[in-house]
C-alpha cells in the first residue's frame, strides 16, 4: 500500500511526460503535444487537471477548459490528425466555458453550468479511481509472475466407460416411427395467420374517426388475440397502416422517445382548413 501512495504523490508532483510545460520558452511553445500518448479526451483532461496539483474535486474547470483548448489548438497547429472525439470535447468545453462565464438563466430543461461542470469532474474522478485500482490490481502478487502453481502437475487420467440404457421397446418404437414417417410422406404447410395491411387500414380509418385526441396506437389494436403469430402480424400491419395513413395525410404521428408509445391522431379535411 505504501508503494502506491508514493506513486500517487509522484504522479502529482511530476508533470505528465506527455505534457511538458516550461516557463523558459515563449507562451506559444509552452505545451508540447504528444497526441499519440493519450487515450482520448478524458485522458488528456485528467493529465491536464493533474498540473493544477489539487484534489480533483477542487480543480478549476475554467482553467482546465483553457488548457484543453490550448492543447487542441497546439495539436492542430502541428497538423496532428485529431480524432473526432477530441474535437467534440473541445466544442463541448467551449460551450461549457461560455455558460460558466455568462450569468445563468433559469431554464428547467437545461442543466445548470455548475451541474455540467460537476459531471465532468465526476467523470474525471471516476476514471482516476479506476486507474488507481488497475495499478493496485496489477501490483498484486500474480500467478506465474510472483507465485507459482505446481510446475509439473500430475494429471488425473480418466478412463470412461459408457453404458447405454435402451429397451427393446424403445428400439422397436424407433423402427416403427421410422417406418411411419416413411409411409406418410405428405407435406403440409400450415397457413400462417396474417392480418393484412388492407384490413389494418380499414380498421384504423374507422377508429380514427371516433377518437378525438392523440391516442396510443396500441389502443386501436384488436384485443384478446390469443394466437401469438396473429398478434405479431396485427401489430406489424397496424404500424404499417399508421405510416400509410400519415403518408396519405389522413393522420398525424408522434413518438416522444425511442421505443416509446406511438401516438396517432386523425386529420380531417375541415380541421386542416381551420388550422391552415
Amino acid at each position: 500500500m505504501n508503494d502506491l501512495i508514493d506513486n500517487d504523490i509522484d504522479e502529482f508532483e511530476m508533470p505528465d511526460p506527455r505534457l511538458v510545460r516550461s516557463d523558459d520558452i515563449g507562451d506559444d511553445e509552452r505545451l508540447i503535444v504528444d497526441i499519440e500518448g493519450f487515450e482520448g479526451p478524458l485522458d488528456v483532461l485528467l493529465a491536464l487537471s493533474r498540473t493544477q496539483k489539487v484534489d480533483l474535486k477542487r480543480i478549476s474547470i475554467l482553467e482546465l477548459v483553457k488548457q484543453y483548448l490550448e492543447f487542441v489548438n497546439k495539436a492542430r497547429a502541428l497538423r496532428l490528425e485529431l480524432a473526432a472525439d477530441y474535437l467534440v470535447m473541445a466544442a463541448w468545453l467551449a460551450y461549457l466555458k461560455s455558460r460558466l462565464l455568462l450569468p445563468e438563466e433559469d431554464n428547467e430543461d437545461e442543466l445548470s453550468a455548475e451541474e455540467l461542470a460537476a459531471r465532468l469532474t465526476y467523470q474525471l474522478e471516476r476514471l482516476n479511481a479506476i486507474r488507481e485500482r488497475a495499478a493496485i490490481l496489477m501490483s498484486r502478487n500474480q500467478i506465474g509472475r510472483d507465485i507459482f502453481p505446481r510446475g509439473a502437475p500430475e494429471p488425473v487420467i480418466v478412463t470412461r466407460h459408457h453404458t447405454y440404457e435402451l429397451s427393446i421397446y424403445e428400439l422397436l418404437k424407433a423402427y416403427a416411427e421410422h417406418k411411419t414417417r416413411e409411409a406418410v410422406a405428405d407435406i403440409r404447410i400450415h397457413k400462417r395467420a396474417v392480418y393484412t395491411l388492407d384490413q389494418a387500414i380499414d380498421r384504423l380509418s374507422d377508429m380514427l374517426g371516433l377518437a378525438l385526441d392523440w391516442t396510443d396506437l396500441e389502443q386501436f389494436l384488436p384485443q384478446n388475440i390469443k394466437d401469438q403469430q396473429m398478434a405479431k402480424s396485427i401489430k406489424a400491419s397496424m404500424f404499417s397502416a399508421s405510416l400509410e395513413m400519415a403518408k396519405m395525410g389522413k393522420a398525424d404521428l408522434v413518438q416522444k422517445q425511442i421505443f416509446g408509445p406511438l401516438f396517432i391522431r386523425g386529420r380531417k379535411q375541415e380541421e386542416e382548413e381551420d388550422n391552415g
Binding site: 509439473a152 478412463t159 466407460h161 428400439l171 422397436l172 417406418k179
Partner: protein
C-alpha cells in the same frame, strides 16, 4: 540464512519446477556454503509420510504423489448415457437390414448419418463392422453384436418382430401397411459373405484431464 529458510526455498523451487532439479541447480539458489544434500535429505524426511513424496530420479529431485495414492490419479468412470433418437433409429435399421453400409442407412433414413452416431453404437458394442462389401468402393458393412442380442434378450436377429407383427402389436398405428414394403424387412438379406476386417477395434477412450 537459517536452515529452515533454505528448506523453504528448496521446497518452493522443487514445487514450481516443471522438471526434476539437481542438487547443484538448487545450490545455485542457496547461500554460499549451504549443503543442499543435507537439506534435500531433511525435506525428503519431512514428506516421507505425506500424500506427496520427494523422490530422486536419475540423480535429480522431484515431488511425486505417494505411490500408494497413485490410484487417485487414475479414475474409472461408469457413465450412463441416453442414446439420441438418431442413434436408436440407426441401431434399429442396422438390426433389420444387416449387413448394411453407411450409405444404405442414409438412404433408408433419408438423412445423413454422422460418424458420431455409428461410433456411439460401436462404443456401446451393439454394432460392429462386419467386413467390406465386394462392390465398387468396397464400403464397410455393419451388423449387430452378441451384446446387442444379450441386451434385448434375443436369440438371434431373426427373432426381431417383422413389420406385420409390429403392426399387430400396435407399433404401426395409423399407417396403411400396404404402403410399407414388407418384403424388404423380413430379416437380413442373403448376401455374399463379407470380407474379414483388418483393423482392430478399440472401445474405451482414454482421456487426460489436466
Amino acid at each position: 540464512m537459517d536452515k529452515q529458510e533454505q528448506m523453504r526455498i528448496c521446497e518452493a523451487l522443487l514445487f514450481a519446477s516443471d522438471r526434476p532439479l539437481s542438487s547443484i541447480a538448487l545450490a545455485e539458489q542457496l547461500p554460499e556454503g549451504s549443503d543442499p544434500d543435507a537439506i534435500l535429505a531433511e525435506l525428503q524426511q519431512k514428506y516421507e509420510h505425506s500424500g506427496v513424496n520427494l523422490v530422486e530420479v536419475a540423480g535429480k529431485w522431484m515431488f511425486q504423489t505417494a505411490s500408494d495414492l497413485s490410484f487417485l490419479l487414475r479414475k474409472e468412470e461408469e457413465k450412463e448415457r441416453k442414446l439420441s433418437r438418431a442413434a436408436v433409429e440407426t441401431l434399429a435399421i442396422v438390426a433389420y437390414h444387416q449387413p448394411v453400409t453407411r450409405a444404405e442407412i442414409e438412404e433408408i433414413r433419408g438423412v445423413t448419418v454422422s460418424k458420431g452416431t455409428l461410433d456411439v453404437l460401436m462404443e456401446a458394442v451393439w454394432i460392429r463392422p462386419l467386413g467390406r462389401r465386394r462392390t465398387p468402393g468396397r464400403p464397410m458393412t455393419y451388423g449387430t453384436t452378441e451384446d446387442f442380442l444379450v441386451q434385448f434378450g434375443l436369440n438371434s436377429v431373426k427373432d426381431l418382430p417383422g413389420l406385420a407383427e409390429l403392426k399387430a402389436a400396435g407399433f404401426l398405428d395409423n399407417v396403411n401397411t400396404s404402403r410399407l414394403n414388407l418384403l424388404g424387412d423380413e430379416g437380413p438379406d442373403e448376401e455374399q459373405p463379407d470380407l474379414p476386417m483388418d483393423d482392430d477395434e478399440s472401445s474405451s477412450e482414454e482421456q487426460v484431464i489436466s
